[in-house]
Every structure is written in structure tokens, then in C-alpha cells.
């Protein structure tokens, strides 16, 4: 039974391998079927953790310090659920865009290996394995990003490649030094040894290396410039997947490592991260306001929204961490919904330049409605999920009396609304552009179904916020007191 802990990882790896064996035609059904099974398994894991609490699995029957152990607490379970959901939602558009340019035969398997890397990062309890998981998802994302391989895409992918490689290397250095200091890579045990050793310069330096490596992955200020520069070249489905998962993996690793291993280091990192969070929010949203293409604007928002997550991490209280958990889920769903809607606009109108578009409300009322839901959710209008997410962040900063962050978070919310209004008034209102291409009813349905699914989830998450906030609070308390996490790992030793 406990093998269910790593089942999302296994399903993704299996689907990726199977996809390699078949021709283009069969790959389509493997693509969607695999994404669906992966989603089902993720939901099963989430429900299991929700009912029975933290679960762990020791790979191959070797107890943890010798073997590699996986553990799923509420935080991991929420993020794995998110991975399954986004994988399923992105699959139809990814398949559709592939049938137009079937240049890259390896895409389905890379898609699944990316999911496997993300799942592994969310579930592992071994620092070196975390590094390997990062490499797995990086490799897949490089090729998925290059995809079309025009010169513009290549320039963008070089921009993506350099910071990613650099952050992996910094992570490897931090992992190596951690082993040098503590003699183990099993995260709970590393935490115990570090607290026994007491504070020292070496430990602070290693903590700083971890923070820098994960900040690069999460695209925080001042190391965020690669994200908008590279995501705009990806097709919208991949941009939705990347923005929903890859930066969040960085945030997850940051939270996991600093709650489990270096809780004492938060005394200096917390205030620093609070500044970083404010700067990330402001720079991201100002960058977004200056853009005139939908996908470019939305990728700048990815940066801005990560700032909100880091507020939760930097404050580090129970409410703050709960706000982070809720915000990650809300934001990934809303942002993926917007980017997928952008993909539909690109397919139907052949461009996403705001100046060329117009009158989508008249020509595509359904698409416009779904876009509006997600845009309002992102901006934090009640009763959508974004309202509760922002409310939790504001409440956390109120409780910690972080007034500046409170002001920044509130005003960035208004600027977010402004930039969403910019897209809405130019592309969706006004004169019809006349660019619309006619398409069959079936393909229109396939395009809109995932967007509708994600929009529905933001509505549901807003209307039934109480249970979701309960889960977030539970995840936060598990993060602050890792006894349950460590106990589950001990209990499950074969």
C-alpha cells in the first residue's frame, strides 16, 4: 500500500517510456491517457494523505539513511495534486499544437519525464535525490522549450539554460557541503545534526547557497530576468505547465529545506526574503504593465505572483505558511487557465498582440467568459479563489505586523487588476479584429474544455474556501512541527 506514495512518479516514468515505443498516432492516446491516469493517481494520493496523515515509503526496502525514502505530507500532497491537475489540463492543447508541427517526436515522453521530475522533487526526502529530480525536470524542460527550434526559440532557450544550469550547480555545491558538515543526506537527519552542531558560519553559508539556488529556480528578484525572456518563446501549453510547476518546485524546495533543515537560519534569511518578496512583486507587475502581448504580459505576472508566495515563506508563521500553500494552488490554476486561454486566442486569431486583437467578447463569448473568471481570480476579486489567497497573505502580514509588505501586497493587487483590465479592454472589448479562423466544433470543444475545467476549479476553490484553508493550515502546522513527518518515515521502515 505504501508504494502509493511514489505512484505518481512511477506512472509518469512508465508513460514516458511507453510513449517512446510507439508511433505518432498512438502517442496521442498515450499522451492523454497517461496524463489522465497520472491525475487519478495524484488524486488518490491526495485523498489518502488527507484521510490518514503523513505517509512514507522506503525505496527497495532499504531503510532511509542507506536507501532513498519518499514521504508525502499535506504540503507535498497538495502540490502533487496540482501536478496531476495541470498535466491533465495542459495535455489536450499540447497534443493539438503538436499535430500542427510534428517536428519533435519525443515530446510526449519528455512531458511525462518533466512530470516525473516534479513529482520526485515534491516527494523525496533525500537532498541528492532532490538535485537529481531537478536535473530530470530541467532536461525535459530544455527540449520542450526549444520545441520548434527557430532562431528566436534558441536564443530564448540559451537564456533559460544558463541560469538553470548555474542554479543546479549551486544546489549540487550546497548538497555536497551539507554532506561534508553532517555526514548524511537524509533530510530529517540532516536537520537533527545541524541543530546539534549549533549555529556556525559554515552552516549559514550552506543555507545561503541553498537559498540562492532555489531563488534562481523560483525566479525571485534580482535573478528573475530569465523567466519572461524564455517563457514567451514556448508555446502556450508549455508556458502554462512551466509557470504552474517549475517556479513552484523552487518555492517548495525552499520551504522544505528551510523548515526541516535550517529553521534557525530564518532569523537572518526571513527579513532578507521579505525584501526580496516585495521587490519581486513590484518589479514583476510593473514589467507586466509595460507589455503589449498577452503571453509576455502573463509571464511577467508569474514573477510577480511568486513574490506573494515568498511573503508566506519569509514570515514563517502558521498563517503565513498556510497562505503560501493556498496561494500556490490558486495561482498555478488561475495562471495556467489564463495561459491556456492565450493559447486558444493564438490558435484562433493567429496572434496574441493586444493591438491586433479586439472584440473577442463578440466573436468568442465562451472564451471571453472563461478568461474573465481566471483574470478576476488572479486579481483577487471575491468570491473567486484569489480573494481568499490574497486575504490570507494580508492576514499573515497583519499578524506579523509587517506593514510595508501589507501595503506592497495590497497595491500590487490593484496593479494586477489594472494589467488584467488592459488585456480585457484591448483584446476582448472594442471592434472585432476580423482575424478569426473558423474551426470545427470538436476542436473548439477540445480547446476550451481544459480552460473551463481550470476556471471551474478557481470558482469552486473560492466558494468552498473553508475546507481548502483547513488543509492549508494543516500543511502549515506539519511544516512547522515536522515530528509527524519524521515519525511516518520511522514507522514505515521495512
Amino acid at each position: 500500500m505504501s508504494v502509493l506514495v511514489i505512484s505518481p512518479l512511477l506512472v509518469a516514468l512508465l508513460a514516458g517510456t511507453v510513449a517512446l515505443l510507439f508511433n505518432q498516432r498512438a502517442q496521442k492516446s498515450i499522451f492523454f491517457g497517461g496524463a489522465f491516469i497520472h491525475f487519478v493517481v495524484c488524486v488518490a494520493l491526495f485523498l489518502w494523505i488527507f484521510r490518514d496523515g503523513v505517509q512514507a515509503y522506503h525505496l527497495g526496502g532499504w531503510a532511509a539513511p542507506l536507501g532513498i525514502a519518499f514521504a508525502a505530507d499535506s504540503f507535498s500532497a497538495v502540490l502533487v495534486l496540482l501536478t496531476g491537475l495541470l498535466g491533465l489540463a495542459v495535455a489536450p492543447q499540447a497534443i493539438q499544437s503538436r499535430s500542427k508541427e510534428p517536428s519533435n517526436a519525443a515530446t510526449p515522453s519528455l512531458f511525462f519525464f518533466l512530470l516525473a521530475g516534479v513529482d520526485a522533487a515534491f516527494l523525496t526526502t533525500d537532498l541528492f535525490h532532490l538535485y537529481v529530480a531537478f536535473e530530470l525536470l530541467l532536461f525535459s524542460s530544455f527540449v520542450l522549450l526549444v520545441g520548434k527550434a527557430g532562431s528566436k526559440e534558441r536564443v530564448a532557450s540559451v537564456r533559460y539554460l544558463l541560469p538553470s544550469v548555474l542554479s543546479s550547480m549551486l544546489l549540487l555545491a550546497a548538497v555536497g557541503l551539507t554532506y561534508g558538515i553532517t555526514g548524511t543526506l537524509f533530510m530529517p537527519e540532516v536537520g537533527i545534526r545541524i541543530s546539534e552542531l549549533g549555529p556556525s558560519t559554515a552552516i549559514s553559508a550552506v543555507a545561503g547557497l541553498f537559498a540562492l539556488a532555489f531563488s534562481l529556480k523560483a525566479a525571485l528578484f534580482p535573478v528573475f530576468a530569465w523567466l519572461p525572456a524564455s517563457y514567451l518563446a514556448a508555446n502556450s501549453a508549455m508556458a502554462a505547465l512551466f509557470s504552474g510547476l517549475l517556479t513552484k518546485v523552487g518555492v517548495y524546495a525552499l520551504v522544505r529545506v528551510f523548515t526541516l533543515i535550517f529553521p534557525e537560519e530564518m532569523s537572518w534569511l526571513g527579513p532578507l526574503m521579505l525584501f526580496v518578496a516585495a521587490a519581486t512583486m513590484i518589479v514583476g507587475v510593473l514589467g507586466a504593465l509595460a507589455q503589449w502581448e498577452m503571453q509576455r504580459l502573463l509571464t511577467f505576472h508569474v514573477v510577480s505572483q511568486v513574490g506573494y508566495l515568498i511573503v508566506g515563506f519569509a514570515l514563517g508563521t502558521a498563517t503565513a505558511l498556510a497562505s503560501l500553500v493556498f496561494y500556490i494552488f490558486h495561482n498555478s490554476v488561475a495562471k495556467a487557465c489564463l495561459l491556456l486561454a492565450t493559447g486558444v486566442v493564438r490558435v484562433r486569431y493567429g496572434t496574441d498582440r493586444l493591438r491586433d486583437l479586439g472584440g473577442i467578447v463578440k466573436s468568442d463569448p465562451w472564451l471571453a467568459g472563461l478568461f474573465l473568471v481566471a483574470a478576476l481570480a488572479l486579481a483577487g476579486i471575491p468570491p473567486l479563489s484569489g480573494f481568499w489567497a490574497k486575504l490570507l497573505v494580508l492576514q499573515a502580514s497583519l499578524e506579523s505586523e509587517a506593514w510595508i509588505i501589507l501595503a506592497v501586497a495590497a497595491s500590487v493587487g490593484i496593479l494586477t487588476l489594472t494589467s488584467m483590465a488592459k488585456i480585457w479592454t484591448t483584446a476582448f472589448w472594442g471592434e472585432e479584429s476580423g482575424l478569426k479562423r473558423e474551426s470545427s466544433l470538436a476542436s473548439r470543444f477540445i480547446e476550451l474544455a481544459p480552460v473551463a475545467l481550470l476556471a471551474l476549479i478557481t470558482i469552486l476553490l473560492g466558494c468552498f474556501a473553508a475546507p481548502a484553508i483547513d488543509i492549508s493550515l494543516r500543511a502549515a502546522s506539519e511544516l512547522l512541527d515536522p515530528t509527524a513527518y519524521i515519525d511516518a518515515l520511522r514507522r514505515s521502515i521495512p
Binding site: 530544455f142 527550434a149 550547480m169 549540487l172
Partner: protein
């Protein structure tokens, strides 16, 4: 031994940083490779290289005779070298394909 390794890692990392900050793509590629070597050496230094004795268990004994080098970081470095090599190869191909992008061309690419 460890001191020398430390100095070596520092010099390599400094050179790599300088190269990574260059505008020329091929210099940056070399920078990545040097940085990878520096980090691998750093992890390797965690073995306690000054002992330089293999962790072999003598007949009739339970544990190897101290002091010995720790084999785990060597295994980690081996994995990291393989991953890093693949990554560097991919980076090189990508940078070569992007070609000698001069500044004007690159800016034109951004405009599109």
C-alpha cells in the same frame, strides 16, 4: 591536500564566473564547463581526500581501518559528472546552433 583542493576550486570558480559574464556565447559555454568541474571537485573534497586510503575491510574485521576516504561523495560526484556532462553537451549544441549571434541580430530577434 584539502587546502590545495580548496584553492583549486576557488580559482576555477573565479575563472568560470569571469567567463560566464562575457557576452560571447562560446566563452560562456567554457564558463559552464569550468564551473561544473569546480563544483565536482568541491563535492569530491568532502571525501576527506587527505587520508587517501581506500575504505576496504580487512579480513576478520567489521569496519575499515580508520582513517579512510568516504566513498559516498565519490559516488555522488560520479553521478554529478554524468549529469553535468550531458548538460554541458546539450548546452554546447544549443549554443553552436544559435550561431555567432552578433548584437544587432540578437536585438532584432527580441523585437519580433
Amino acid at each position: 591536500m584539502s587546502d590545495w583542493l580548496g584553492i583549486g576550486v576557488g580559482v576555477l570558480a573565479a575563472c568560470a564566473t569571469y567567463l560566464l559574464l562575457c557576452k560571447n556565447p562560446s566563452r560562456r559555454a567554457v564558463g559552464i564547463i569550468l564551473f561544473g568541474i569546480a563544483i565536482n571537485l568541491l563535492v569530491f573534497a568532502m571525501t576527506g581526500a587527505e587520508h587517501s586510503r581506500a575504505p576496504l575491510v580487512a579480513p576478520g574485521q567489521e569496519v575499515p581501518r580508520a582513517p579512510f576516504t568516504d566513498p559516498l561523495p565519490q559516488a555522488l560526484v560520479l553521478t554529478a559528472i554524468v549529469i553535468g556532462f550531458a548538460l554541458q553537451a546539450f548546452a554546447l549544441v544549443l549554443i553552436t546552433l544559435t550561431g555567432p549571434v552578433d548584437d544587432a541580430e540578437q536585438e532584432a530577434g527580441e523585437e519580433q
